[in-house]
Assembly symmetry: C2
Homo-oligomer: 352 residues x 2
Amino acid sequence: MTTGQKNSGKTTVYPGRATIRNVAEDAGVSVSAVSKVLRDAYGVSDALRKQVEASIEKLGYRPNASARGMRGQSYTLGVLLPDLRNPFFPEIMAGVNSALERTQYQPLLGVSQSAISIELALIESMIDRQMDALILIAPRLSTTEVEKLGKRMPTVVLGLHNPENTSYDTVNNDDVAGAEFVVNHLVDQGYRDITMFSLELSPAEDSPVSVQREIGYERAMHAHGLDKQTRILRREQTMREVQTAVRQLLESRDRPEALFCWSDKIAFEVISIATEMGLSVPGDLAVVGYDNSLFCDLAQNALTSVDQFGQVLGIQAARLALERIKGRTEAEHFLVQPRIVIRNSSRARASR
Amino acid sequence: MTTGQKNSGKTTVYPGRATIRNVAEDAGVSVSAVSKVLRDAYGVSDALRKQVEASIEKLGYRPNASARGMRGQSYTLGVLLPDLRNPFFPEIMAGVNSALERTQYQPLLGVSQSAISIELALIESMIDRQMDALILIAPRLSTTEVEKLGKRMPTVVLGLHNPENTSYDTVNNDDVAGAEFVVNHLVDQGYRDITMFSLELSPAEDSPVSVQREIGYERAMHAHGLDKQTRILRREQTMREVQTAVRQLLESRDRPEALFCWSDKIAFEVISIATEMGLSVPGDLAVVGYDNSLFCDLAQNALTSVDQFGQVLGIQAARLALERIKGRTEAEHFLVQPRIVIRNSSRARASR
DNA sequence: CGTTCTACGTATACCGTTCTACAAATTGCA
DNA sequence: TGCAATTTGTAGAACGGTATACGTAGAACG
């Protein structure tokens, strides 16, 4: 029979809430009038607005986002993060949040665990949920796929350089400049043999930030006449991969004087392994990171790092997303100038 | 009339997608039939199912979650985090994600920035968005408010002990036991003068985890006859508050031998300040944290900490939420037994 | 004074699902 | 064979908003 479902009906266990119709009735006006007030649409007298707003207040009415999503907007922005463990991403979110604070829009996060399959599923699922726009943070997707996505819905991307594309906006810090700052600073402190620890790319990805940072690194090394010392080590981001590579590098005869890591996360790992091996930082090895994340400031790390102003990036991303929703269709590309924050991990090299 | 304007008028710049009607048409069946297949409902022959599934596949159809939300479920779970910067929360999320991986349900995160006003707004906004259930992680809300919420919709709470409540489920680690482990371990290592650094509560909050950990601390200290050494320092979670308090404590004449911090985040800060002051850990001060978060393992921290199995907590929370959605109404309370992970920061005390 | 604007409101057709009520076809059984 | 029971499928009314099309006053204008 299958009649059993006791809580089947729509009334379920949990009580209903005021609808736009209730408000209209209470205010003695039409449903359309209420809708107009809600949307701040044309053709509403002051008196009507007051009237309706009073009823809304009185009934504690809140519009149902699903219903809205069916016809117009859902007032929800989807934000896609690869990983919550990277302390840089929270900064961006803080920016997004603060930019949307006083608007009707609500950002909701999805976490892809750095897996491209989950990333794709998450994007689809956000589209299913009628998100008004998507903010992708450091996506694994290829630029062509993101470009396709941008044609489907308003899209803003952080951490993927591609100024030529037309269908989506980008927000980035100037990774080339950031890397140049690092090399210049290290050279300044007396280091010459500077290796870069970068990210191994899967074939699918094409222009994430690490590539830009490599360009900046190479360019600056070249400018200082250090072509012979130029060395880039690339590894996937898994702990095991990173640890063995770092250990190997630090144990080898030609251990560099300084190591520029493409992210703080890697740099912390480097400090850890160096410490374990009895090497002192910066005495035996200078270390520089990228992101200037929370933990750089702790004395046990004291990590020199490039600050890319995550909050600013987040604020701009939110702004661009809202503009897209409002109707802008030409792509816009925002670039923040980073700064280097100097700490003990790159202190001047003692002359030998 | 109203033939099939394929692009349906208002579809703006972005193209439409297949609807349940398209699928029905393509498969040559009724809309209800397709809906039944989607919901795995009673009264579908094998042949029909095959037929419909083929069309779904062919058209790349995906149900619109907003439309679903209007009638029944939205297949979305809202997860509320106070703060992304705390490295413990990602663990929980990983658990939630993995538990929902193979289901139709999608978890979406909201971040309250540890502000009770944002937390409330976020909860409302998730209700507006027809979330099927809410998972609150370490909420600032009082238990009474959460209780009210639990009557409105399926709710699971992490990090708020209240086994007596009836309207919502809880998932926790045994904080009392965890704190006892810490004290027992420190005593074992030869420490006697053990201070606890805990959390200052606003009047609104009533039983967060820190209180439970205080109870465990006090109980264990008492069991070891260390009532006279029992000392709890409470501070709000802001960096400034914590730093000045720690500095003061470490500078004072009666600096403790060991400091048990209610969270890793605090413990890292303690290590930093101690390092800055020239104190060695554990030589001059043993430090223990709580959460066993990612960075404990780094050699520069080497922080002994209590592992509360965040992933397990997340998995259980997701399970309970799904059960609630399915119709369970009696509250369930899940408790995980934590374990202590011993590292260098609490190494045996050298006898004086 | 008749006509055209403009400002303000309303009626109502959707949007894409779910799910109840019901019809039709098939099966079971005496 | 007749009739009830079961299985399989369909029609169509919601759900709670949005937005178009339209009606109705006054005001402005010639």
